[in-house]
């Protein structure tokens, strides 16, 4: 069905239909015969979901739009999502719905403490990112709820840098991805993807580096060590625990260096 409004989409959701955003995850499952959804709610043309009002980004906003109009750290992440074809179709809401541990958009949302807006026919709630992600491809969204928007805080850190490690430059799923932000007062946040079941913040490393106005080379080494120590990666078909742990520290340190210059 092609709902004309969020209300129409929610009514369909209540009857057990599956929401379809850009299709870049769902259709792979269909093509490979893993799922065969009978009733689908096509959200692609739902204008309400494409609204982007300052700090509120509609769930239907594509990575292509974020690449050109998003805050720096999120735009840098958007640029590494799939290919132009994928970025034209894939949306920020769909990325959250899939909730892959490797989702490129997630570290930024974690780094700036974004919230996710969940809407049902009965109510609307806004859930902090850390409560939204509950496990590998698992979220706090109830079956009767639609992800309708992402809320960014009113004030974003002055400096934000995204980075990603993968086996090639283009069209790659992250082995490790990360965002480091640093405010003028030194407050630093570090969020990583692909190194735990959900995106994570490494608070030990954050606290250590936030208190230092002008980090020395030795401070950076210690920061890298703390990041590597705090992440919880696994070995899978994409990489090993050991490499991810090492990569997480190196990537975070390099992003911090970029924030400091």
């Amino acid at each position: 069905m092609h709902p004309k409004s969020i209300d129409e989409a929610l009514a369909g959701l209540g009857e057990g239909a599956i929401p379809l955003a850009g299709g870049t995850d769902l259709m792979v499952e269909v093509n490979f015969g893993h799922i065969r959804p009978e009733h689908v709610i096509g959200l692609r043309r739902l204008a309400e979901l494409k609204e982007w009002d300052g700090q509120r980004i509609g769930a239907g906003v594509t990575w292509r739009r974020i690449e050109t109009h998003g805050p720096k750290g999120l735009a840098e992440a958007a640029r590494t999502v799939g290919s132009p074809q994928i970025r034209n179709a894939g949306t920020i809401g769909g990325n959250l719905g899939t909730a892959s541990p490797a989702g490129d958009g997630h570290p930024f949302l974690a780094a700036v403490d974004a919230s996710i807006e969940l809407t049902s026919t009965a109510s609307q709630r806004t859930v902090r990112w850390s409560e939204f992600f509950t496990g590998v491809k698992e979220t706090a969204r109830r079956p009767d709820e639609l992800i309708t928007a992402v809320h960014l805080p009113a004030h974003l850190p002055e400096r934000q840098c995204f980075g990603k490690i993968g086996i090639r430059n283009a069209m790659v799923i992250a082995t490790v991805c990360a965002v480091v932000t640093r405010a003028d007062d030194g407050k630093t946040t570090v969020a990583l993807g692909s190194v735990a079941p959900t995106p994570i913040r490494v608070t030990g490393a954050e606290t250590m580096i936030s208190s230092i106005t002008t980090p020395t080379a030795g401070d950076l080494v210690e920061f890298q060590r703390l990041v590597s120590e705090e992440v919880r990666p696994i070995t899978d078909h994409r990489s090993t625990e050991e490499y991810r742990r090492h990569g997480a520290g190196v990537l975070a340190r390099r992003l911090l260096e970029r924030c400091l210059t």
Partner: protein, 154 residues
Amino acid sequence: MIVELTVNGEQVTARVTHPGSLLDLLRDDLGLLGSKNACEQGECGSCSVVLDGELVCSCLVMAADAANSSVTTVEGVSPEDGLHPVQEAMHRAGAVQCGFCTPGIVVAAVDLFARNPHPSGTEIKEALAGNICRCTGYGAIIRALEAVEIGAET
């Protein structure tokens, strides 16, 4: 299921098994075999089409979700009396090896030049990041596209 949509400027009615893809609809029902079916996961770009003005992988579009949309396939990029400048340039440069990726690359490149008539080499490479050539014939493809003169023929 029956899906009505516009393909290459023509209003068509197509039949497809739900939840099949737009690519299935184009190839199996409409017989438009230019869009290729290879990876079925959006990695290779050989099924690239323009859907409602956006370059996408037709294998990742549910056919039902393309209802009442407008689609341009590789069969629809050239003018009636010849080739699109992108096709012309690739033909001239011999930027084709086995040819399987060529339609997807043509569609992606036509979309690029529609948005950016004078792309740099880097912009061309980024625009083609979603199109894989198994023959690795990228050098000739990039050189061909660097030589495209949009507007020169018209």
